[in-house]
């Protein structure tokens, strides 16, 4: 075993100013890949964003981000992560609120 794999690393070929870069995220899958890709694409400063899970036996995803105006893709990634977290909190609150306050059918399920 080598030393622990870093959670994120930037793959070769990234622009020096990180205006275009591919991030390899370790131990993640389509679960976070697609959700994060969607949130990054919601940013108007992003020219392109896509991800791939290169191979089933490799435990990582590659996330490609290209920015307009030479902006940093790392900043866009961080912003998207924050927004995605806000989204999770909002959904959690809405679900809890509905569970506590809404009228819904309760039924007895035989197992």
């Amino acid at each position: 075993m080598a030393q622990a794999t870093p959670k994120i690393r930037i793959l070769q070929g990234a622009e020096p100013d990180l205006s275009a870069a591919t991030y390899q995220i370790h131990d993640e899958s389509h679960t976070i890949g697609n959700a994060l890709r969607w949130m990054i694409m919601k940013n108007p400063k992003v020219e392109f964003c896509g991800y791939s899970a290169p191979h089933p036996s490799e435990n990582h995803i590659n996330m490609r981000i290209q920015m307009y105006d030479g902006l940093s893709s790392l900043t866009a990634l961080l912003e998207a992560l924050k927004n995605l977290d806000d989204l999770c909190v909002t959904i959690d609150e809405a679900y809890t609120h509905s569970m506590q306050n809404d009228q819904y059918e309760r039924w007895d399920e035989k197992s």
């Binding site: 870093p6 959670k7 690393r9 793959l11 940013n43 961080l78 992560l81 909002t90 809890t96 809404d102």
Partner: protein, 371 residues
Amino acid sequence: MASSSSSHLPASVFNPRRHVGVHAERVSDVASTEFPGHYPGEDHSWSLAKFKETLKVSVKRLSQRSVEFDLVGVDASIANAFRRIMLSEVPTLAIEDVFVFNNTSVIHDEVLSHRLGLIPINVDPRLFEFRQDIPLDRNTLVFRLNVTCERIKKASKDGPQYINEYVRSGDLEWVPQGEQESVFASNPPAATNKDIVLAKLRPGQTIEMELHAIKGVGKEHAKWSPVATASYRLHPLILLNPSKPVPPHLAQKFASCFSPGVVKVSPDGQVSIDERHLRKETMSREVLRHKEFEGCVELKRIRDWFIFSVESEGPYTPESLFPESIKVMRGKIASIREAAEALLADSQDLGSGSAPAASAGPDADGDVEMA
């Protein structure tokens, strides 16, 4: 547009941009297009305020084993993330190590061990840690299985002949370790269902085993999955064409193309959609098989209206599974964020120009090294 006599659906549901087309042999407009730059002059950038306005979560049915709820106003990637997490990343406990001291039953050690692994255990996984290497009272739960079958002396002719003819999940005896005795005093660890038959015995056959249950997640093995199913479907929508009404003499036939209650027929043969029952529609597409209804109706689904159905099988109550999946999702986001912030700090240390990629790139042949 559709009849809105009993308007249970909000008007925004009829916005064609939210529709996925369902045709006889294909679907259309599957992908969402609401991204910045797609529609000139429209702003589709992320806005938390706007999201809060459009998001609707509404619980529909709840039993002690399952829950059905609507999640409206999110993209498929988000809904799918939660579904995937419920299936494979919400932790539970399951038997992982089996020490066989004696097994003279007809079922092989490895087959029985596999069956044991699949038993759902009623312990709250939040009280446990993942086992790294050494078993401790904080990460391992120990059970014993010690069953011998015997003939009942003086058994009645038509009653049971043997004791312990069936080995059931209820025969697992919990062996408390360390602090566990006090922590689980009120709710001793056991199988959630005590009636699962694990093996069948005949007189003289015996099973003696020690079982270690540990915490894990469903992506490693499905035995750690906390759900029986976690799935969603999109809300169905039926749009009648006002310029080509269904002929009154065919109204009953038209109605029978849909799930019961979805299409209403008035005494004079006018058809309308009962929006309260629309979610029951199975979308069988039967109506599209009949020439006489061509152009009368369009079948749609609403792209951002997810009807979730989650069945719990294990320690979690059905209503707590979705919040648990959100917790796991936030944990993932937090760990990526931490790493990304470290990367940002690194790149700033290196100054403005020098590539932070150089040190972390693949090796000389361009391959990505596996750990």
